[in-house]
Amino acid sequence: MTVIPVSGLAVGGRAAGRAAPASGPKRKRRLGLGAPVTYGWMLGPGLLLAFWTIGSATGFIDPRTLPAPWVALHTGLELIQQGRLQEHLAISAFRAGQGLVWGVSIGVVVALLSGLTLLGGYLIDGVVQLKRAIPTLALIPLFILWFGIGEGMKVIVISLSVFIPIYVHTHNALRAIEMKHVELAETLGLSPMAFVRHVVLPGALPGFMLGLRFGVMGAWLALVVVEQLNATSGIGYMINLARTYAQSDVILLGLVVYAILGVSSDAAVRLLERKVLSYRRTLAK
């Protein structure tokens, strides 16, 4: 007779009355995702890197289409030795950082004004929803007329790209506070200030964190576009220049840097999210 690993009363109760099925040890099917594997997320990117390496080594990938990984690595080291990569990277990161700080600050303040007061909502929300219908990048020609082609315009475009997701998700979360928590606050006699501080703001925090993730991604996206516009520094400028001289390895390096920046900043936000929202127990730990 086969022994069934019993995990649960229902299974045990049934097995007692009936002969166990002879088809080998059966495992109880678990819903949900199962135990996470450390660094499991690297599987997909790792396979892609392996394909690239093997394809370049065997000549399956034409070096004019895509240079080999070691060529890109060599170019990267060279540019680092010359100090050019760090310089461009620092300038790009500074632009994105400025846009992020402005976009998050203004987004949060405006979302609070709009989310916590009826009049604020009537004044602000419609305008922002209108703006949402126009992609920020489509506004660049107008911004160039208004603000010129200098750093100011670049930071404004990035800020706006961050502002929208921060505002939308924070405002949405502020307005979605559960009625049962409102009732609780009323029966506990909380003042409006205490209600906002202890119930509304912590309740809206998950929404803000979601907005922050979209905002960070938006910052990099806007950075890529504005750095192609008459820039004389930054990763985007480096890529544009390389295009002029047909240096596909430098273009590739620029793209890799963008990818690393995007992934690492998203990981930083997710880490922050896990710290800030540690009270939650979710499916994907």
């Binding site: 609780l184 606050a185 009323e186 029966t187 006699g189 909380l190 202890h198 912590p202 009270y279 127990r281």
Partner: protein
């Protein structure tokens, strides 16, 4: 003696559900009243009217309630982003608020769990935190809306014992909404039956301390209450019918 709660000719109507058709009810200081009724009888509507939570209602009548009211809901309604002690003392100020909160937690037998997150507690423990949160405010009136309804039978028995102990120690006037006849008879000094938005019965629970006499009295009360709830024909010989 002036009653703690006084309700005169209370009428409430909702567009969706819950109706009260002229309720008159007094609750004395320290009195434990169980409000019994079927689903839709208006018992929760009455409790929400007393708690001033019926913002969507239209109606008339007069309600006099004390200033310090605490509410225990069917769900524990803890804020998930606050630790247990912070949930208990939410909205309290004063230098000794946290010490009072710790004492309240000890009273509900949760000393040592001050720094836990709500999700780390069982359903019964969460409801005990909610009880501590209510009692730490020293209410003159405690409104409880089926507070044991979501708990399993064993946890419910333990909660009954604890609830009786705490109500004796703090002695607020209590209005306990329930649909459980045995719970009402066991806990309350007085049971009010609500049917179709009106008071259908109002019985004092004057039980002898123990013995055969008590058993008979409980049986009589159960039959009376079940009759006023309109289910007496269904229960011949049934030893304990909980849900009505």
């Amino acid at each position: 003696m002036t009653p703690t709660v006084s309700i005169r000719n209370l009428v409430r109507r909702f567009t969706l559900k819950g109706v009260l058709n002229g309720i008159d009810l007094d609750i004395q200081r320290g009195e434990f009243v169980a409000l019994l009724g079927r689903s839709g009888s208006g018992k929760s509507t009455l409790l929400r009217a007393l708690a001033d939570l019926d913002r969507e209602a239209t109606g008339s009548g007069e309600i006099i309630v004390p200033a310090k009211i605490s509410v225990v809901f069917q769900d524990a309604r803890l804020l998930p982003w606050k630790r247990v002690l912070d949930n208990v003392v939410l909205g309290l100020d004063g230098a000794d608020a946290r010490r009072r909160g710790e004492r309240a937690l000890a009273e509900v037998e949760l000393a040592g769990r001050e720094a836990s997150w709500p999700y780390e507690l069982s359903g019964g423990e969460q409801q005990r935190v909610a009880l501590a949160r209510s009692l730490v405010r020293e209410p003159e009136l405690l409104l409880a809306d089926e507070p044991f309804g979501a708990l399993d039978a064993l946890t419910r028995i333990r909660m009954h014992v604890l609830f009786r102990k705490l109500s004796a120690a703090h002695d607020p006037a209590i209005l306990l909404v329930t649909h459980d006849v045995d719970e009402a008879v066991e806990l309350a000094d007085r049971v009010v039956v609500l049917d179709d938005g009106k008071i259908a019965a109002d019985l004092a629970i004057d039980l002898p301390a123990s013995g055969e006499e008590r058993r008979l009295r409980v049986a009589t009360l159960r039959r009376q209450l079940l009759t006023s709830l309109g289910v007496e024909n269904l229960i011949d010989g049934a030893p304990a019918l909980h849900a009505v």
